[in-house]
Symmetry: C2
Subunit: 316 residues, 2 copies
């Protein structure tokens, strides 16, 4: 059985042709976020190219799976809202089913990444796995008994919006002190910005002040590697906050594994020690000892592989 | 089919004989926490009395379920640790199975209460339900697809140990800022104690200062009802903290219902408004609109009924 797995992010649209446990073809393009139409066109052309490739190989594709950053109405396959691209109440499932005449399944990108980690990645063999995507924001996915947990309306696993500091900074979601407001790429960027208003000097702050708009959270990792003390302390703090969030996850789920992926892993070596110290000091010992905390082994394929696994579940 | 449902708390041991959806007999005694032997003797005698009653009615009991406040090794039926009574690595399941020759199932008391609420109580009909027991401490239970979620080792659902304020007060578990450290009976007691060190005056503080050791958190509700402003503000704060915890629960689980039980419900009318304002202001709207927040309708029967339902699941 062959399937397509598509990963739609705010900056790139990636897809794979997946056949008998192997990625036969990868396809990747920039997401054109001009309008919901241009985003959909990007998805359609990615699928078309992969379907063409399957035909030239003499393989029949059975279904298509999509992981999309945003709130998904899972049953209807509608993207209700997405922070990083203009899809809004967009019936992605229906659009693709009509275009290609194949069964389509649409899910949140972090749910899909969690499934990939639990079945094929760092958490392979885990019955209970919780996944965090550490990027601009923080997404979450929960796998129970090998299946994605979605809750009553498909809106579950918003682990970036666990509140870890009720007196903390305001989050994009409007609440205060969410994990995302303290340990995400945006949180790190904002911390640099705050420091830039002080009289402090450091190579990182020089770079930020020279061009704040082009500065990216990932640069903090580079400066930390070069010994910038402010960069180091920002990442250590973020690591501690991440550890608080993982502590709650361990106490709530008693999982086999907590897995981490996303762009912020580039800074993770400077966050990890504080994260582990925090979890070791705060989580309930029996659950702490059992839970492995692992970084993704699937890299950029995590999203597309998870989408492909979801598609395969459709075909039964 | 008839079963026994036993609820072992730190102060009382309660049991029911449950037959075809009805409680035929209730039995209740003080838990003698002198030693693990006296606790076990109390359980055995409760079971014996209920079994005698079943015989006199000509009913055959098929199995026994127990809900116990503490950490339970679910597979082995061992109470590994319990904060409020002296059971420690006690093989409760084996002891009862040998004594009565019946199948026995042992679970955490909050898990059991969650099951009762989901099947028979305030959350009846919920597919996804999260339950909090608000007492001296805060326990949690998670029901997914009608079954208790226990995680990898039966240690899941420690919702009282979600961290909601990483800079908050130290919790009994050793961590900082757990929900239990901010919204439980103990947390409320400590807040009164702190105020008693100040020069403030109020009827509640007078009562506390006269006899701190016999003062109970529930008394704060009585003083609030009589208009004590300090009592009111303590309960409003606790309600806000509870709202923060419920916000995280709603964002994580996208549940059909969050149900509440326990001794602190006596103070709940003074906590509820702040709790609801907090949840309405902070939780993700789609999940917030869907989740009902309900107080238990089972009262003191919640624990024994849940244990009976668990026992019934054994008998298939």
């Amino acid at each position: 059985m062959a399937v397509l797995g598509i990963d739609l992010g705010g900056t790139k649209t990636a897809g794979i042709l997946y056949h008998q446990g192997e990625i036969l073809e990868r396809c990747r393009s920039t997401t054109d976020i001009t309008s919901s139409e241009t985003v959909i066109e990007g998805i359609l052309s990615t699928c078309s190219r992969l379907l063409e490739s399957s035909r030239s190989r003499g393989i029949t594709v059975d279904s298509i799976g999509l992981g999309i950053a945003g709130f998904i109405d899972f049953e209807r396959g509608v993207v209700t809202e997405a922070p990083n691209h203009p899809l809004h109440e967009t019936p992605v499932k229906d659009i693709l089913q009509s275009a290609f005449g194949l069964p389509v399944i649409v899910d949140n990108d972090a749910n899909v990444a969690a499934l990939a980690e639990a079945r094929l990645g760092a958490g392979r063999g885990s019955r209970y796995l919780v996944h965090l995507t550490l990027g601009t924001g923080i997404g979450g996915g929960i796998v129970i008994d090998g299946e994605v947990y979605r809750g009553a309306q498909g809106a579950a696993a918003e682990l970036g919006h666990m509140i870890i500091d009720e007196n903390g900074p305001i989050c994009n979601c409007g609440a205060r002190g969410c994990l995302e407001a303290l340990a995400s790429g945006v949180a790190i960027y904002k911390r640099v910005e705050e420091l830039s208003w002080t009289k402090k000097r450091s190579p990182m702050l020089d770079e930020f002040r020279a061009n704040p708009l082009s500065f990216r959270a990932e640069a903090v990792g580079r400066h930390a590697a070069e010994g910038d003390e402010l960069a180091l302390s920002i990442l250590r703090d973020a690591g501690k906050h991440l550890g608080v969030g993982i502590t709650s996850i361990i106490n709530i789920f008693n999982p086999d594994a907590v897995t981490l992926s996303g762009g912020l892993l580039g800074c993770f070596s400077f966050m990890e020690e504080e994260m582990r110290l925090t979890v070791d000091g705060m989580a309930i010992p029996i659950s702490r000892r059992h839970a492995k905390i692992l970084t993704s082994t699937l890299g950029e394929d995590g999203g597309t592989l998870g989408a492909a696994l979801l598609a395969a579940s459709l075909a039964g």
